[in-house]
Symmetry: C2
Subunit: 207 residues, 2 copies
């Protein structure tokens, strides 16, 4: 059924550009479903657009996220590490002195999963653990020079990908990208992200 709708709707082929524009204009608003066309196919077309719109979003997120991480993954692979190591480097680098508990909350994994990744990183000299000043049960995590260097290397690799995409898309698109990505996040992730943004690297944590 829906397949027939799609086939019927798309007679031409290469006007992808015009199609995308049309989606952007009419698609992203939930209400006002029939304000566009007054023909009998208006509602059906709108439904089609909304469906194709999401399918496209699924594709974009799948391919885009994969290629975004591909460069860093290659570097990590050479060092016998994985994406989980990169996450630790990234978030510890972003918040030096972060506690294990806070890192667990950000990564949303279990203690055991983190331990398997973190412990070798401490042994190999990428991360140091220091007892908390106020609460000495805490193990505050900080990157060593070596850890910072690796994080920097992964960072530069991804910077190429992201900056190329940003430049290609333009600054207005970047703002839109940020808004949509933030919208995809749940309430918890949003507040976590806010707290990360409000406490950039090098500043003391106020908790």
């Amino acid at each position: 059924m829906s397949a027939e709708q799609k086939a019927a709707h798309r007679e031409g082929t290469a006007e992808t550009e015009a199609r995308r524009r049309g989606e952007a204009e009419s698609g992203a608003c939930d209400k006002g479903a029939t304000d566009k066309g007054s023909g009998p196919t208006a509602g059906r077309n709108l439904l089609f657009l909304r469906e194709e719109e999401l399918r496209l979003a699924q594709d974009l997120l799948f391919f885009g996220y994969r290629d975004f991480t591909a460069g860093a993954d290659a570097i990590l692979g050479e060092l016998g590490m994985g994406r989980a190591h990169h996450r630790v480097l990234h978030f510890v680098g972003r918040r030096p002195g972060i506690t294990v508990g806070d890192l667990l909350a950000i990564l949303a994994i279990t203690k055991q999963s983190l331990g398997r990744v973190l412990q070798p990183m401490v042994e190999d000299g990428y991360v140091v653990q220091t007892a908390g000043a106020a609460d000495r049960r805490q193990r505050l995590l900080t990157l060593t020079d070596r850890g910072r260097a690796l994080e920097r290397r992964l960072f530069e690799r991804q910077r190429e990908t992201v900056m190329a995409a940003y430049r290609e898309a333009g600054s207005a698109a970047v703002e839109g990208f940020r808004r949509v990505m933030r919208g995809l996040m749940g309430a918890e992730a949003r507040s976590l992200l806010r707290s990360i943004e409000d406490e950039p690297a090098g500043r003391e944590r106020a908790r």
Copy 2:
């Protein structure tokens, strides 16, 4: 063959040259976040923004992608399936009659990895394999009613997330989101995505 594809996939593309040319440009700067005047600190601020900008992108992609998939993951978990099953449902649903080889190219995984996921899905009646008409070595993959129903369920779950994000961000932001995500993709993924978009479900593949 597949190994070469993978190797090529991980390699960076010709985007880097453009990056070096535009290195000092501010094309990816946030809109009006700070002064872009030519004071003594302008260069430093620009560097800072570009760095923080990427760190933010990393955060957004990490949290956003995770929450984007979280809803579908929960449904899949109840059925004893994982994200890999969803990808099969999604891409087979998008291109009914796709060959195993083409699906492998899209997913960029090995035959073995796909087989471990695909075989149970065939046995459980989510996917059917039919011999190719022209080339009978091919096993053309199509969703059954049951497969379509599950895909639809996962689709609706993600639709809520994405549509909420789109509505919240606005249609202009959606267009920007698409442009940036497309820019994150490498050349291979782009051409794959193009071929998917140009051959929507229900139409014969022209290869």
